[in-house]
């Protein structure tokens, strides 16, 4: 089932009664979610990603715009009739019911020709429980489960009625780091096994990047960029997206273009074509630095952190927008933190330049 969002907008009335200013949570969202894909809605808190999810679920009504499931316009359809599965951030498992009763609950609501016999319900319940690997816990109460197990029960409950669309609201935020890694692989596996179009919301870029077929990066209600995770990472549309994706984050510098030369502070980093002379913001991915005695970028090292395979060099540069410049380099290169200076060459595809005012990407060619 593909999902089409057409000019989707959600405005909340202002809390402040005196000013009638509305809060635009989601602004003119257009997107076609392909059938059977896993989509990550990504953005900092308050960016409208959860509101978008709740509009798809029908728990919130859009102010304007339309939502289609396949070819059906579901904009006016109530949540009950949309046939969706929703996993809440805190799972919302019914505390007084056992795991089995929780998973079976949606099945018992089926009416008319969809009505199931007791045996069918039990079978479907066990099937869903097996899928998320909790079939040994069916008689427990939610309070007797760990966070990860509760999470699985919530997914099983959402999947058991075979929804057209599966929605996950911050599914991993209540789990500890190790479980988070494990569970996100689980979500990926379950999604690929069931082939249900899945949308999940997260503020954790790593999480979204690692399991999504596509990610949607949002900021203050406006979609910044949509694409495959690697594409968005390699080719950010603006400074916000570039900063939001990647750990450690991208290094941002004050720079300028003058006579076909890109300067980072005083250092002439590389010759470029197709950009007029102007002051720009320069972003360099941490992995874009290569130690080179004749490299153009001159930094003062502060600290070297050995991370096994790689070495993270923390240094300072006078044009850096952040206190420190962080570069990840191969451990074969030896950097002595006591040195006065370390010089880097920059990989051309790891450097981006942005308009200083609009923060939009400025595309250039390497000479």
């Amino acid at each position: 089932m593909k999902i089409v969002l057409q000019n989707l907008t959600k405005a909340f009335p202002s809390r402040n009664k005196k000013s009638n200013e509305e809060v635009i949570a989601v602004n003119n969202f257009n997107f076609e979610i392909p059938d059977g894909k896993l989509i990550g809605l990504l953005g900092p808190s308050g960016c409208g990603k959860s509101t978008t999810l709740y509009m798809i679920s029908g728990l919130q009504k859009p102010t304007s715009g339309r939502i289609f499931f396949g070819d059906d316009d579901v904009t006016e359809l109530s949540t009950e009739n949309r046939g969706i599965g929703l996993v809440f951030q805190n799972y919302a498992l019914y505390p007084h019911m056992t795991v089995k009763q929780n998973i079976m609950f949606p099945l018992q609501n089926l009416k008319g020709q969809d009505k199931l016999t007791k045996e069918q319900m039990l079978e479907r319940t066990q099937e869903a429980a097996r899928l998320v690997q909790i079939d040994g816990l069916l008689d427990r109460k939610p309070s007797e489960l760990s966070g990860g197990q509760q999470q699985r029960v919530a997914i099983a409950r959402a999947l058991v009625k075979m929804p057209r669309v599966l929605l996950l609201d911050e599914p991993l935020s209540n789990l500890d780091a190790r479980l988070r890694l494990q569970t996100r692989e689980e979500i990926r596996r379950i999604q690929q096994e069931t082939k249900i179009t899945t949308v999940f919301v997260t503020h954790d870029q790593e999480e979204a990047m690692s399991i999504s077929d596509m990610i949607v990066v949002m900021k203050t209600g406006i979609v910044q960029q949509i694409g495959k995770p690697q594409d968005v990472y390699d080719d950010p549309a603006n400074l916000f997206v570039a900063k939001f994706l990647g750990t450690p984050p991208i290094n941002v510098f004050e720079g300028r273009v003058k006579g076909g030369m890109l300067y980072v502070g005083p250092d002439a980093v590389m010759e470029i074509k197709g950009v007029s002379d102007q002051a720009v913001t320069v972003g360099i991915r941490p992995e874009g630095f290569v130690p080179d005695e004749n490299g153009p970028l001159k930094c003062k090292p502060v600290n070297v952190e050995v991370m096994g395979r790689d070495v993270s060099v923390v240094s300072t540069h006078e044009a850096s927008a952040n206190p420190f410049v962080r570069s990840i380099i191969n451990a074969d290169h030896k950097v002595n933190p006591a040195l006065e200076h370390v010089r880097y060459a920059i990989k051309p595809h790891k450097i981006f330049i942005f308009n200083k005012e609009t923060e939009e990407r400025i595309y250039f060619e390497v000479k």
Partner: protein, 314 residues
């Protein structure tokens, strides 16, 4: 823990409360037991220097009183009917109140008004509503006109008036009026408690139910009631305790006669029996009845707690 050197300070601060409790709660309880166990104890005679033998004669007498058995029957019947009815109604009203947005505050206030109204005054209004005008004393010209809004309504719809509470009324009619009155009177407190419980239930359970297209009745019985069960248990237990102590509502409707004019004392309750015994200067009998009432409430509450252990989800 308070250090032992500081403990006398703690006791000092507690002293006013402890002294008052000892005088007005603990001593009366001990005294009740003492009076109940002294044969035919009477405060007046004791003041006159009479002595009483130790024994359980008071209990025997109380249990053998036909009036006491009637009082017990009334009390139990009232409890058995009013507690479930009022709890169920309060639940439905609380859920309805919780789900509406406009006028919610105003309606909450209206539903809470009976709680702050004097129950004798409410009783008099109810008595007027269920009244029939005619003769109260069974003379020849009785029941010429019917007044009382309930009978007016019945007659408006073509029914015949019912003698609810007046001379010659039936026990069932009396009981019906009492149940209506007590249920109405008990609602506000229960609604308040249940409404408080409802607001503390996480809304996501309802959203989850909505996503799973759960019918409303199923949401009520499978989600709201179990999640509200601690409050429901509290409301039922206090309801039974209150029910067994029922007295003022009877006075409100029937006056101190505790029954229709044709049969005084017919609607009397256990607390009413205790008051009567006290006013007859029969403190021994009153104390014995009070202890029996205490025993009954204790047993019922223990049963309630036992049941709620299985049914209540905390």
């Amino acid at each position: 823990m308070v250090e032992s050197k500081q403990q006398w300070k703690a006791w000092l601060y507690l002293a006013p409360a402890i002294v008052l409790l000892l005088i007005f709660t603990v001593w009366p309880i001990i005294n009740t037991v003492r009076m109940a166990l002294l044969e035919n104890y009477s405060g007046l005679k004791a003041a006159g220097g009479a002595t009483f033998n130790f024994g359980i004669g008071n209990f025997e007498k109380v249990i053998n009183y036909r009036r006491f058995v009637q009082c017990m029957k009334n009390t139990v019947l009232l409890c058995v009917f009013t507690v479930p009815i009022s709890t169920l109604l309060a639940l439905l009203i609380a859920v309805a109140l919780h789900s509406i947005k406009p006028l919610q505050k105003a309606l909450q206030t209206i539903f809470f008004l009976p709680y702050v109204t004097n129950s004798i005054a409410i009783g008099m209004v109810f008595a007027a509503m269920f009244n029939i005008v005619g003769s109260f004393f069974g003379t020849e010209n009785e029941l010429i006109v019917t007044a009382g809004i309930i009978n007016n309504v019945i007659e408006f719809f073509g029914g015949t008036h019912v003698n609810w509470i007046n001379y010659g009324s039936s026990y069932a009619a009396n009981m019906f009026v009492m149940i209506v009155y007590i249920v109405w009177n008990a609602l506000p407190f229960k609604i308040l408690i249940l409404l408080g419980g409802l607001t503390s239930i996480n809304k996501q359970y309802y959203e989850a139910a909505k996503v799973d297209s759960t019918p409303r009745s199923r949401v009520l019985w499978r989600i709201t009631v179990p999640l509200l069960s601690p409050m429901l248990a509290y409301v039922v237990i206090t309801g039974f305790i209150g029910g067994f102590k029922e007295y003022t509502s009877i006075v409100g409707i029937f006056g101190e006669r505790m029954g229709p004019a044709s049969d005084s004392g017919r609607m009397n309750t256990m607390v009413g029996f205790i008051y009567d015994s006290l006013s007859n200067n029969n403190q021994g009998r009153a104390s014995a009845a009070a202890l029996i009432l205490f025993g009954i409430i204790l047993v019922v509450t223990l049963i309630n707690l036992q049941v709620s252990k299985k049914r209540v989800h905390y």
